[in-house]
């Protein structure tokens, strides 16, 4: 005879999508460390003018040209006598701003275009996707170089160029999500109770695309930091003496033989920063991907 056992009342807290995401994300230790590192970087970049030991552009230590790292100059001194640690700190401001602002602008415009293309379909979709095809037809950094050639060099124009370069990927991503979301029952339900197109897109479809956008956002910041630094490296972005990491590497190139340490620290700075964003993005993706929990 089988006794019917009542299910024990669950003692765990209510699982919301947010708490589920947080639980899965916190399990990924590498991504959590990367996330903490990104936060520290952002804090250091914001506080850079106050915590940098020397003036990044106007302090010259003529007694220690090309000096190797020491207690006085943590990352050494460059051939002009400037403190490399201070320059890297100030450079973090530039690179993080460039990465964040350009991707934010690209994501904003791309998401809006993707929502419209996916929701309206027809003509809107064709025009927007054709536009994306054209932007995609310029390989890699070439589009950014073309835009910089028109607008002129400098960091602001680099940010604009990288933002335009990010639009089509976000547009395609969001369009794909919108196309599949809009046929789901809950969207039809919203429509059947008389919700306007605007309400459906903003309140019901857009939240469904956020997860994909956030993951891509993080991964894209890494790429954009590299693109912006590359443009400065080939002389089209920040100009010397601005302590932008790519521009610093370009300056260091001439003295690679005598003082390789001048090139090493900006390289490490770019690598570690981009790596942190990529690891964070990977972790976010795994935490937001419903397939991963099945293993």
């Amino acid at each position: 005879m089988n006794a019917i056992v009542a299910a024990a009342p669950s003692t765990s807290r209510v699982r919301t999508p947010w708490s589920e995401f947080w639980r899965k994300f916190m399990r990924q230790h590498v991504a959590v460390i990367a996330g903490v590192f990104v936060l520290l970087m952002v804090a250091a970049a914001i506080l850079a003018p106050w915590i940098a030991p020397y003036d990044a552009e106007n302090f010259y230590d003529y007694d220690r040209l090309n000096a190797l790292p020491s207690w006085q100059h943590w990352f050494g001194v460059d051939p002009l006598g400037r403190d490399i640690f201070s320059r890297i700190l100030m450079g973090a401001r530039i690179s993080l701003t460039a990465g964040f602002v350009s991707v934010a602008v690209g994501a904003l415009i791309g998401t809006a275009l993707g929502l419209v293309a996916g929701y309206r379909e027809g003509w809107w979709d064709r025009v927007i996707m054709r536009l994306c095809d054209v932007l995609f037809a310029f390989p890699g950094i070439l589009l950014a170089i073309g835009i910089v050639a028109i607008l002129g060099g400098g960091m602001t124009n680099v940010i604009i160029a990288v933002a335009i370069f990010s639009i089509p990927t976000f547009a395609r991503l969001v369009r794909g999500n919108t196309l599949s979301l809009k046929h789901l029952t809950y969207v039809e339900a919203a429509r059947s109770v008389g919700a306007s197109g605007w309400t459906i897109v903003v309140r019901h479809i857009f939240p469904g695309t956020i997860a994909a956008v956030v993951v891509y956002f993080s991964l894209r910041i890494g790429t954009s930091i590299i693109t912006a630094a590359s443009l400065s490296f080939i002389g089209m972005g920040a100009q010397p003496p601005t302590p932008e990491w790519g521009a610093m590497l370009n300056e260091a190139r001439a003295d690679m033989m005598s003082s390789p340490h001048v090139a090493i620290f900006p390289s490490i700075a770019i690598f570690v920063t981009v790596l942190a964003f990529n690891l964070l993005g990977d972790g976010l993706r795994d935490a937001l991907d419903p397939k991963i929990d099945q293993k």
């Binding site: 054209v134 390989p139 073309g146 050639a149 080939i234 390289s267 770019i270 990977d282």
Partner: protein, 306 residues
């Protein structure tokens, strides 16, 4: 198949046309007067007017575009403002070094990337996977120009094994193509791994194992083939990445290719050269994607009839 090819080719025409118009308008988007740019800073107004008429800049925009498009179709991009030589000659000398560099980078990076991706998927969550994926995430995070400088410092300056700059022999190709391909190898490894992991969970793989095939046959014959389908598409996109990346790598290694020519041309506002190069880079990219799409249709018949 022929029908699919024709459909794809016709589909490219609007994109090509818009790219052409954008590249054409490029001159008019530049700040300043293109005729003055072409005539030089010290030219008198009369000379500028002559140059304007000579370049056809006094005609209406549609007329200018037809002239430009006609020239492009005949391979005539005008003269370089800097060297006064025909742009086609300038680019002709630079075309092959860039092409071979990208092909060499593509060849090694795709091969190595797919091998690492496959090994990582097969030994998922064990040390080959961890090592492979650590390498891969580092590869996408290290900027090409920094990697190029590091490689040059170690292998050319310190060890003196390989030449640092120029494109004289096959040994000159080693460092630049390593630099250029590293990120692509990393992306291919990550992509192959995720594609392979999905495939290995499919029912037909279980069936293959259930009927007693060895793991090697299951992985290579049943897994690899199917996992490669999305990887092939990815390859087309990556080629674009390489074409763009070659611009930066050519600057590092002082490579006599189209990328460095472009950087110099932008620097000196040599707009006919910029126009021709942007058009050529895009055209190459579009063509490669077409080839990849056709390859994809050959592998996967369902695409052809969609």
């Amino acid at each position: 198949m022929i029908q699919y090819l024709i459909k794809r080719l016709l589909g490219l025409l609007p994109t090509l046309l818009i790219v052409g118009i954008l590249v054409f308008l490029f001159v008019h988007l530049l700040p300043g007067d293109p005729a003055r740019l072409a005539a030089g800073p010290d030219a008198t107004p009369e000379t500028v007017a002559l140059v304007r008429a000579d370049l056809g800049l006094d005609k209406s925009l549609p007329e200018q575009f037809i002239r430009f498009a006609g020239g492009v179709l005949r391979g005539d991009f005008g003269k370089s403002l800097r060297t006064k030589r025909p742009v086609s000659t300038e680019i002709g000398e630079r075309f092959l070094p860039t092409l071979w560099l990208t092909v060499a980078a593509m060849a090694w990076s795709v091969t190595i990337g797919m091998v690492i991706g496959t090994l990582s998927a097969v030994w998922r969550n064990r040390w080959p996977d961890r090592l492979g994926m650590t390498l891969a995430v580092s590869g996408i995070s290290f900027p090409a120009f920094a990697l190029g400088m590091v490689l040059m410092q170690i292998f050319a300056v310190q060890l003196r094994w390989l030449p640092a700059i120029g494109a004289d022999s096959w040994r000159s190709y080693i460092l630049p193509s390593l630099t250029l391909g590293a990120a692509v190898a990393a992306i291919m490894a990550r992509f192959t791994r995720s594609s392979f992991v999905d495939i290995l969970q499919e029912d037909f793989v279980r069936t293959a194992r259930a009927k007693g095939l060895t793991e090697t046959v299951v992985v290579l014959k049943h897994g690899l083939r199917n996992a490669l389908i999305p990887v092939v598409t990815m390859m087309g996109l990556q080629f674009g990445f390489l074409l763009g990346g070659s611009i930066v790598v050519e600057v590092v290694f002082n490579w006599p290719g189209m990328g460095r020519l472009l950087v110099d041309a932008v620097d000196q506002r040599d707009y006919p050269v910029i126009q021709a190069l942007v058009l050529l880079f895009s055209l190459e990219f579009i063509l490669i994607n077409l080839i990849v799409d056709v390859l994809y249709a050959v592998i996967n018949p369902t695409i052809r009839y969609k």
